[in-house]
């Protein structure tokens, strides 16, 4: 395995704040003391790799991957697609992308979700894909509904798809959420608002992508993901005092 260099330090100001009173659960689940910082080591610079043998033919098709008899899931058919790259714009190929979401009515297939909206018998709500050589991925799914959640008295989550990405090293691990262009609930959402840098929140909002939409079939939304990069220089010195 070649040495690809240390991970670029995370810019914590470009991420959500861990503690935000408007998102009540974060109050008791956010560390109070500073994180311990150190240059990455092989423990963070390596990570699990997953092969194509892992992925089943319908894993990236949420419209059909829970259907028992081929009946498609109910909802507005969409293609979610994009590229995974690093901070230097390099594609991140063959990396695992996993998604999960509510159904078209805003209900998750989960014992703890007791929202009034009905379950769709043909919709499970999870999918996975490996990026290709250029770091591209695609999912065919339905647009999830907005849903209410117990936080402040009347909070609603905007339409969103949860995304988990591995990258090529354990230190690149990322979980985020994709929102949809034009959703008025984004600006009212305390979870979206944990990101204080507006440009960073804007980057979680996927634009409608008519070029990739398929006539008479599905609309497309484009969602690119940037993972931490690796610094590569000819000058790697031992740190003073270490």
């Amino acid at each position: 395995m070649s040495d690809l260099g240390p991970l670029v330090p995370r810019r914590r100001d470009m991420h959500p704040v861990p503690f935000d009173p408007d998102y009540k659960t974060s109050v008791t689940r956010s560390p109070r003391w500073p994180l311990l910082s150190m240059e990455s080591t092989p423990s963070e610079e390596t990570g699990p790799r997953f092969g194509h043998s892992l992925i089943g033919p319908l894993d990236n098709n949420l419209i059909l991957n829970w259907s028992k008899d081929g009946t498609p899931a109910i909802g507005e058919r969409i293609l979610m697609h994009g590229r995974v790259m690093d901070e230097f714009g390099r594609p991140v190929p063959h990396t695992l992308v996993e998604i999960w979401q509510a159904n078209a009515g805003g209900r998750y297939r989960h014992v703890k979700d007791t929202y009034f909206a009905p379950l769709d018998p043909n919709f499970g709500g999870c999918g996975r894909a490996l990026t290709d050589e250029q770091g591209r991925y695609q999912f065919l799914t339905i647009r999830p509904g907005a849903y209410p959640w117990p936080n402040r008295a009347n909070d609603w989550r905007p339409m969103h798809i949860h995304i988990s990405v591995f990258g090529h090293s354990f230190g690149q691990r990322l979980i985020t959420q994709m929102y949809f262009e034009g959703d008025p609930l984004i600006d009212r959402c305390p979870i979206a608002a944990t990101i204080k840098e507006r440009s960073q929140l804007d980057r979680l909002v996927a634009p409608l992508d008519m070029a990739m939409s398929r006539p008479l079939d599905f609309l497309a939304y484009k969602f690119d993901i940037v993972l931490r990069g690796r610094r590569q220089t000819m000058f790697e010195n031992k740190l003073e005092g270490m």
Partner: protein, 199 residues
């Protein structure tokens, strides 16, 4: 004016939310039909070289409650200090595991091999450790920490030696509770708050 940088900024994190299990361990979440099995069920396969150990623990919030919805991932070297994919690594050590707090008790369990020492990039030996990553509702950016072992020589470990408050070092130590058995609780807040890492 100056030239503009063409580097990108990492995509912002968001919480995994209460249903992170649907996406990451769907069989555990009750969606058993979607994949043959959940990813990362085993850190090791039968026959892995080294000392086989079981680590159990809780993830405890600021009120002292061991919450039930944590998702954890671990990544580690094999007994000789090599990571899966590296030349000479034990093919029976996957190194990666994904596990969750129990829905009833909040306890999680990791069965694995005790890792060997891994060098830093400037050649110093790190004490045996397992990297740990924690996602849950209310955690806006997932937490990184490490499991070290109280029965190993940790005196030269570069990361542990960076901890100024020496009274916090034990928060990263798995406590031996029996033959091949360890306990490692993760405290998100409080006097025994676990040391979390920005690495």
């Amino acid at each position: 004016m100056v030239q503009s940088l063409d580097t990108l900024v990492e995509t912002a994190s968001q919480t995994g939310g209460p249903y992170v299990h649907i996406g990451c361990i769907p069989t555990f979440a009750g969606l058993g039909a979607v994949y043959p099995e959940d990813l990362g069920l085993r850190a090791i396969e039968d026959g892995a070289k080294g000392e086989i150990i079981t680590i159990t623990g809780e993830v405890i919030d600021g009120t002292g409650w061991a919450f039930r919805d944590a998702l954890l991932e671990s990544w580690q070297a094999d007994a000789s200090g090599k990571f899966a994919g590296q030349e000479g690594a034990d093919p029976l050590v996957n190194g990666f595991a994904r596990f969750a707090a129990d829905k009833e008790t909040g306890l999680w369990t990791l069965r694995t091999v005790k890792p060997g020492k891994v060098k830093t990039r400037d050649g110093r030996l790190q004490a045996p450790h397992i990297s740990l990553w924690i996602a849950a509702r209310g955690i806006n950016i997932s937490l990184h920490t490490r499991i070290y072992f109280e029965d190993e020589d940790n005196s030269e470990d570069p990361l542990l030696n960076r901890i100024e408050q020496r009274n916090r070092v034990p928060t990263l130590m798995a406590k031996k509770t029996g033959a091949g058995e360890y306990r490692f609780d993760i405290h998100l807040q409080g006097a025994s708050e676990t040391v979390f890492l920005d690495i």
